[in-house]
Symmetry: C3
Subunit: 168 residues, 3 copies
């Protein structure tokens, strides 16, 4: 292959651009998921909330948040502040990312372990299944909906792990 064939140069550059964009998307979404635990355990309400779109939702067993403001309020809540004031780790595993056919939506799946301090010792309080639905925005990838279920043998949790988007 020689560059006196401009078409081929163009084709190769376009292929590189498409492949790089895909890789950037997987990396950006992996990084978004990797940032949740540290930020929520730091208590950084604004940056946690910014992982969602303005009207993004977070549904975690018995707690349904329907906007950035509600996610931020969860981080600032007495319950969460008690947890992190004592010391906690919302430990999320590496995300498995699937970019949608349209290229502008994605799904990420990971497992999570919640560890908390109990009488001065860290204990495992919960294990969970997480499915993030995401969208490309002018400000990068953001979460439109996150669903988290305890890993207790229920079909709902197992569906999330298999990457099946739950019904609305």
């Amino acid at each position: 292959m020689t560059t006196d064939d401009p078409a081929s140069t163009d084709t190769r550059i376009a292929a590189l651009e498409a492949r790089l964009r895909h890789l950037e998307d997987v990396s950006a979404i992996s990084q978004l998921v990797a940032s949740y635990g540290p930020l929520v355990d730091a208590g950084d309400a604004e940056r946690v909330a910014a992982l969602w779109t303005e009207d993004g939702s977070y549904d975690v067993e018995g707690w349904h948040m329907a906007s950035r403001a509600e996610v931020a309020a969860m981080v600032r809540s007495e319950a969460h502040q008690g947890l992190i004031g004592n010391g906690s780790s919302h430990f999320l595993g590496p995300a498995h990312v699937t970019i949608g056919a349209d290229g502008d939506t994605a799904v990420a799946v990971c497992e999570s372990v919640l560890l908390v301090q109990h009488k001065g010792h860290p204990v495992v309080a919960r294990i969970g299944a997480n499915l993030f639905e995401l969208v490309r925005t002018p400000d990068g990838w953001q979460t439109t909906r996150r669903t988290t279920r305890g890993l207790d043998g229920s079909q709902g949790a197992r569906d999330l792990l298999a990457g099946r988007v739950p019904p609305q």
Copy 2:
């Protein structure tokens, strides 16, 4: 550098292609490893098995599987179904990936924690060392052999963590 030097354009594009391919390989293998836990805890036997080549093996203390079919059978086994029916998390850490000199084989190492529900509480049942040997196939990277050992101080487990491929 100007593009009236076609050789240099070609060289730069070829360098990009090689670097991008390397990054794609590391990402694909990281994603393969990240998908194992969610899929095996979901009980998705087919997709777990598809992480291996047709005759790929999985050797995990006292259980030696020598094909995709045997990996799928493990997922469908009473033992595994009991585990996930109760609720379990095969929590694998981020993989450290080394692409072989030939470019078409690789090794990935990670630690793992098995958490299970016991009397309604999640407990740590096992900690492990994992070494994946992988090969590039027309369908993407697949596992030719995975070796998992409990982290109990044995040299075997520590060799896996150091990336030393075990003897056949």
Copy 3:
């Protein structure tokens, strides 16, 4: 866009080079962090130490190492050898990486869980916050300073998780 416009070909290639370099940096740093746990649990003192610059530091509650040699000495210490001889997992989560504006320094944040064998059963001994400060060297990215604090509700640990570099 056609390649009879050489300027645009150059511009596109330069953009690809810059984007790819950024992605390579995030990947390399993620891989460095992912390799720490396996290598330290393997007891591979040399390769653990090589994750730091020659005079890189590692400050982990009550243990301050100020060079590669001191990091290697920690791995070889009776305390650490006792831990891994018994079986341990320094389980680090996926790193969240931020490349500095200069392009040659970076910060990576992750949570960690230390699991050890106690009377034949794995137990969680510690949960931690980790902040790595890194620099690009001719031999790739290396750690200039790592700070680790137990997640016990203290502001220091939470600052690390929020990505705030601690004072010297």
